[in-house]
Symmetry: C2
Subunit: 412 residues, 2 copies
């Protein structure tokens, strides 16, 4: 018998456990609204594209450009121009297996152990973790209600320059920031570009959520602004359609793209999903996203209502301007990483704040609640139960629904 | 403006060029037969699975097991048991984006720079290249008509042990070997297992092509033999259905699987493809593969016929026992890597032998011709034209279709 433990590479992640199944109240991850998956539309698109182009599946990359299915790249070229202000040719867009693969490819092409990158202080856990796995130092820049504080970014860049460090990129989620839900102001986008040019540090713009802005001004993507030609921009169909489809994209200068493409040695992004999404969104993008946003906004109201009712002033949050998650901060007594276990025992899953922070300690009282997947009634019930577990474990919240927590709650 | 050239990581692959499109006569890669893509069957399956499970796309991994879509894992557990002799639970099968992702994950989990692995002397270029990219030394073991020479494997293992080297794995494509088309005999499979146990070196079995054996005895997979429980086994739907779907799988002991799964941080294998393939193959695997094999065998005959006609005794080959490619050796005057450029100018693409060999110099007169994609008439015309280019560049073949090559050919 082979003893594999003697053979594994060093520094692997801890082994995966057997799957535990879906929690009863799931507020984690970037799951989307199942009710709004356009099943009949996808069926019609699948039929149309398979009948027209199905035989092309017999060749790697459908016998076409390794950048991805031409129809989806053409759709994206239009969408990026009309909605994000990015003028690009379809031949400068790369389709990836989720924007996550875009993130991995950019990291592979730019990062080496010992490098430094800059991110928003609170940001996507995967971005922090993947950089650190490569032995890269992550410098966090605080946010306020307008996104990354560019004055503090300037100071950080200056400090790094003084220390002889040129960071490899400034990673930002400018439009519906993850996890804070903020939108970076136009002035700050321009300031970011100015700082990028002054310090020779590229901007790495992640726009996974940008299409889900509820309303109001829709700031141009940083890559679409004057001086934005060198920005590396990634996006996703996970949030506008469905994450299990695993489709994202990269828009970047060819200097970078030619490197990403050389490293993308996966035999091509799966084609059926590309074909179906190109066909469906070619006709229905605005309708679908409009419906999706209405549903998500309704769920956000259910979530903030439940939090107010169950946690009262103990839960601090700023409603996001779009998207699928809410960043909540609880009083100092609550350590959200410690709460996660007992909550899961009670069927409630959430993302503890430390995973979403460059400085885990600073976020130990916060958590991220994703409201995309559960129905409003499940959101209500889940938050009720979370308040119960949290009270039991930490004494917080002291009151729920205007009733002191040491009395039984009126309804369950 | 950002100068990215100052920022790229060291040792990246050379930048990709802009796509040149599909060559007129394409004998490269692992492309499949476009005529046999079951378009109407896939449409019916897509409709059925989307209507039944489409809403599950709203969650990562469809809210299920990160190993992959349960229906496809169940199909595979049956198929592996009935066709490959591997008894396994669906919960010990991982669905990957092509078997290529399986290969990458296994490498990630086992290999470090400075390690050694053993492969067949002639083998899949991607396996050689990916190991070498990780700074791993590849030791080749010669093949004969029954696959890897286990006597020479024993000698190589002994030599390495004497030198204090324990290889990380023995990679083999036992059933329809790539590129030689051989099938490893049962005795050698058992001997391989004996050597694996004696030296504590795992077997990494790649069965991408095994379903395409024309006829005759169908040797049990090495993982299915007594003592095979520690074997890591990968397979693919690229060759039985369509490579652009990007679906493969891993069957491995949980010790290894828990590591592969921890490293598979891609957000899940795309779900629509998994659902459609599970449904379609759940009802049609044998029919479809039977049709596919009949078509491929007909194409192989077209290829060997054209080679005999155009190259005569100058082209040496042993018809494969199944699959999609033929390994051809030309006389010493022909350097196939040098021939590839002029051939591509003339619209003919093939895989030069050195890419498919642990020792590139030893394979410099050989080439791999994949006959899966072109139609028989294109095969005929492509080989005619290849003979023309080859004669012009090297003087080989001296005669074609029984006519000396310095005379014009009778037909074109």
């Amino acid at each position: 018998m082979i003893d594999f433990d003697q053979l594994f590479a060093r520094d692997l992640p801890v082994p995966a456990a057997r799957s535990r199944g879906w929690p009863r109240y799931n507020f984690t991850g970037g799951h989307n609204d199942p009710e709004i998956v356009p099943v009949e539309g996808l069926i019609a698109s699948a039929e149309r594209v398979l009948r027209r182009d199905g035989r092309s599946l017999a060749a790697y990359s459908q016998g076409g450009n390794p950048l991805g299915y031409a129809g989806l790249r053409a759709f994206l070229a239009d969408k990026l121009a009309s909605k994000r202000g990015i003028e690009t040719s379809a031949d400068d867009i790369l389709i990836t297996s989720g924007s996550l693969q875009g993130l991995d490819l950019v990291n592979q092409v730019l990062l080496e152990p010992g490098d430094t990158v800059i991110m928003e202080q609170l940001t996507y856990s995967g971005a922090i973790e993947r950089a650190r796995r490569r032995g890269v130092k992550v410098v966090g820049v605080p946010l306020d209600e307008d996104g990354m504080r560019t004055d503090l970014l300037a100071a950080a860049l200056e400090r790094l320059r003084t220390g002889g460090v040129r960071p490899k990129y400034i990673y930002t989620i400018p439009t519906i920031q993850n996890p804070t839900g903020t939108v970076l102001s136009l002035e700050r986008r321009q300031e970011l570009l100015r700082l990028s040019a002054a310090h020779g540090v590229p901007i790495f713009e992640d726009e996974c959520y940008a299409d889900l802005l509820w309303e109001g001004d829709w700031p141009t993507a940083i890559r679409g602004l004057a001086g934005g030609a060198a920005v590396i921009h990634i996006g996703s169909f996970s949030k506008t359609l469905a994450p299990a489809l695993r489709l994202g994209y990269v828009s970047a200068p060819w200097t970078v793209m030619s490197r990403l493409l050389a490293c993308k040695n996966d035999g091509g992004t799966p084609a059926l999903e590309q074909m179906v999404v190109a066909d469906y969104f070619g006709a229905h993008f605005d309708d679908h996203v409009g419906r999706l946003k209405a549903g998500l906004r309704h769920k956000l109201e259910a979530l903030t209502g439940a939090l107010e009712e169950q946690f009262g002033s103990a839960a601090e949050f700023r409603p996001p301007r779009g998207g699928i998650f809410l960043w909540v901060t609880l009083p100092d007594q609550v350590d959200t990483a410690a709460l996660a276990g007992p909550a899961l025992e009670a069927g409630i899953a959430f993302n503890p704040g430390p995973d979403w922070s460059v400085d885990p300690v600073a976020a130990r009282h916060s958590l991220r609640l994703c409201f995309g997947h559960p129905r409003p009634a499940e959101i209500q019930a889940g938050i009720e139960r979370l308040a119960e577990v949290c009270h039991r474990e930490t004494g917080i919240p002291e009151r729920s629904a205007n009733v002191a927590r040491d009395q039984p709650l009126p309804s369950r």
